[in-house]
């Protein structure tokens, strides 16, 4: 019993990963757009589970809060309000297929090229981090404290530049919406 539970505990990542893949598959192959969004939601929840199984609790819960709780809701709203007619939908996706296939293949080749060694050999000795000092601090501090120290003390400027990119997207949305109304 004890051994079995420990075994399950060690393989949580695998379990959640399979669920996430299942959700993603549903999202792609579902006939109905709302079912697709539900598959996407399942996938996002399972990815949060993956983060939690690695002990990255802040990351996992932020995933839950931002993606599952915020962004997918917006997806759902848009899909429910702007219901595309079936014919239009088909035409759109058929034109995309060759490009999408080519891109996915290129992505897969790049991924396997980079991770070939770790996929079938021994894993890397040390985790790839930008600031090894933070990892040492993380042993003492909590997960959330470590992330915030990284974001607001060590990498404040890059972080703020990233938020400017988000601002650009916001301004762009306002401009587009305004142009339509006038």
């Amino acid at each position: 019993m004890e051994q079995l539970l420990i075994k399950i505990g060690q393989n949580f990542f695998l379990i959640f990963g399979v669920i996430a893949l299942g959700g993603a598959t549903t999202m792609i192959f579902a006939k109905n757009a709302v079912h697709s969004v539900m598959g996407f939601l399942l996938s996002m929840l399972a990815v949060a589970g993956c983060y939690l199984s690695f002990g990255a609790e802040f990351m996992g819960v932020a995933q839950l809060l931002v993606y599952a709780g915020g962004i997918v809701v917006l997806f759902l709203f848009v899909v429910m309000l702007v219901e595309l007619s079936k014919a239009k939908e088909k035409g759109l996706f058929q034109r995309q297929t060759p490009f999408a296939l080519a891109l996915v293949l290129a992505g897969a080749v790049a991924f396997v090229g980079v991770f070939w060694k770790t996929l079938f050999g021994a894993s890397a000795r040390e985790a790839l981090t930008l600031a090894p000092g933070l990892v040492a601090q993380g042993e003492k501090l909590g997960n959330a404290q470590m992330v915030s120290r990284g974001l607001f003390a060590e990498y404040l400027l890059p972080f703020e530049i990233l938020s400017v990119i988000l601002l650009v997207a916001l301004v762009g949305a306002v401009v587009l919406a305004k142009a339509e109304r006038v």
């Binding site: 839950l64 599952a68 809701v73 759902l76 709203f77």
Partner: protein
Amino acid sequence: MPTPTLTQSLVIALLQAILVVVFIFVVVPLTLYAERKVLGYLQLRLGATRVAGSLTGLTGFINRNMWKLGKVPMLSYWRGIVMLVGDILKMILKEDILPTKADKFVFFIAPAISFCASVIVFAAISFVPGTLFTLPAWVPIIGGLPVSGAIGDVNVGLLWILGVASVGVYGIVLAGWASNSKYPLLGGLRSGAQIVSYEVPLTLSLLAPVVMSGSLQFGEISRGMAVGLPFWGIVPQFLGFFIYLTCGFAETNRLPFDMPEAENELVAGFHTEYSGMKFGFFYLAEYINMVVVAALASAFFLGGPWLMPFGLHGLLNPFFSAHLPALLVPFLCQPHAIFFVVKIIFLLFVYIWVRGTIPRYRYDQVMAIAWKYLIPLTLVNLLLAAAVRYCCAV
């Protein structure tokens, strides 16, 4: 103290989960009953009295005579409680109608999402710091082990609560869509938009306790706001408490913000097509969400499981331990889950009180309150919290 093995800790977690579910299923029906009665008294009537009231036997004898004397019999105050059984039986036994054109799977899963999200939130809520009780040695697998006051008082507990609660919106929106009918769709979208909007000021108002206690762990925030400051959290955070409670009312779709159930506009909102126990799950989810909001408010602003307000711990505890009987001392001076539950129940009463007092807002007013007034107020409140933190944390 022995370290529990993995099996033992899982069994303890299961026990705690059962305790939480029992707590929910005791508090929620009683809230339903209290809602009828308190609302009745607020509107100068008796509330539910007539169901299953007997005119025979001793009870009937007292009742009849008191009525004759022109008084409301004391026993009739409790008579409506039998109505609860009727309510529950009705939900379970009523025919479960599935609309022909509904999306069957989504229609089926939507109440489950709503209900599960509201229950899972309790995983991170800490009822009392440390140990709730220690199991006696004769219990089979887990004898002699302590049961802590929280299922998992994790490092990011508050974020967990907010994250899981925000998943509950899907239940409402998907229910509206899956019914394949106009009113539910509009109701679902409307309450979805309302919940998503009010999540912003809700989260911002909960940021103030986080700033003041310097932690995201539920028990730690609760401790910081109750005894870390020289007074309960509500004193420096009165504005925050008010904003939080307002947003909590809107999040749980209660009056004066019960947009999805504005009958004159939307029939019954997102659950128009639901009946039987599927509707029952939405109903339960609403009341469980109320309990969650009340739990957060009482833990962060009303001192949580600590009884003594206003820094009286240091002053009164030596006095109590010197003069009171030994039985009472640990009860009064230490945090206790009962105080936490009593505060939750008081806040549930406030819910009903507000429902009986304040009229419903119009939809555009609801949105204006969230975006134009509450969000700027929360930012001011956050500055206030930072100032208090700066002054108090020497």
